[in-house]
Symmetry: C2
Subunit: 120 residues, 2 copies
């Protein structure tokens, strides 16, 4: 049987930025936590929607035609195939939901790309 997951406790287990950690799975989706600060890389996910829920801090997501801003307790689903670039002025803690197959930089290979995401 699964365990209760305490988000705060899980966030305390890592400090590296832009490297999502898998905390659980359900229905082929992975639940991940990430700490982010600064700018990520432009990318899209051809076949997968990606859900961002801000747990702490503020996250912005830049699109080619607009930018959206998320505060704590706010979420946004980036539709498949839409180029986006997350950024955060100060450190921000985010819950991510996406299919198990999703690479965090999409088809873009970048120095920030992590091939094997840790499970915590």
């Amino acid at each position: 049987m699964n365990k209760v997951i305490k988000l705060e406790e899980k966030f305390s287990l890592f400090n590296d930025l832009w490297t999502p950690k898998i905390i659980d799975e359900f229905n082929g989706q992975q639940l991940k936590l990430a700490k982010v600060k600064g700018e990520f890389v432009w990318h899209d996910h051809a076949n997968e929607d990606e859900l961002f829920l801000v747990i702490k801090g503020k996250l912005s997501i830049e699109f080619r035609d607009k930018t959206i801003h998320l505060n704590e307790g706010e979420l946004f689903v980036v539709p498949k195939g839409i180029e986006h670039r997350p950024f955060a002025e100060d450190e921000c803690h985010v819950l991510l939901l996406e299919p198990s197959t999703t690479k965090h930089t999409g088809s873009v290979k970048h120095q920030l790309t992590v091939n094997d995401q840790d499970r915590i």
Copy 2:
């Protein structure tokens, strides 16, 4: 393009208990909000895992062999096919994630069963 969803604002839009409201969809999963208080009905979902994340208050989920307790910021995935009964002593606000096909009382027909869940 999707909109930013503010959980607090969405929770302010309804007061009925045990009637999940759909707030968004991604990858065939639905994101729902529910206000709960008291005991729900024993049920299972044969083919779907169900994720509970407590946004406010405390939620317990009873299984045939144990009971788990969730506080704010804590989550639990109920695996497919496992009988469970959520309950909350005081009003609790919950974020639910499950496939679009999931009925909230599973195969159980009960006076609490809602056939067409509202989208807010």
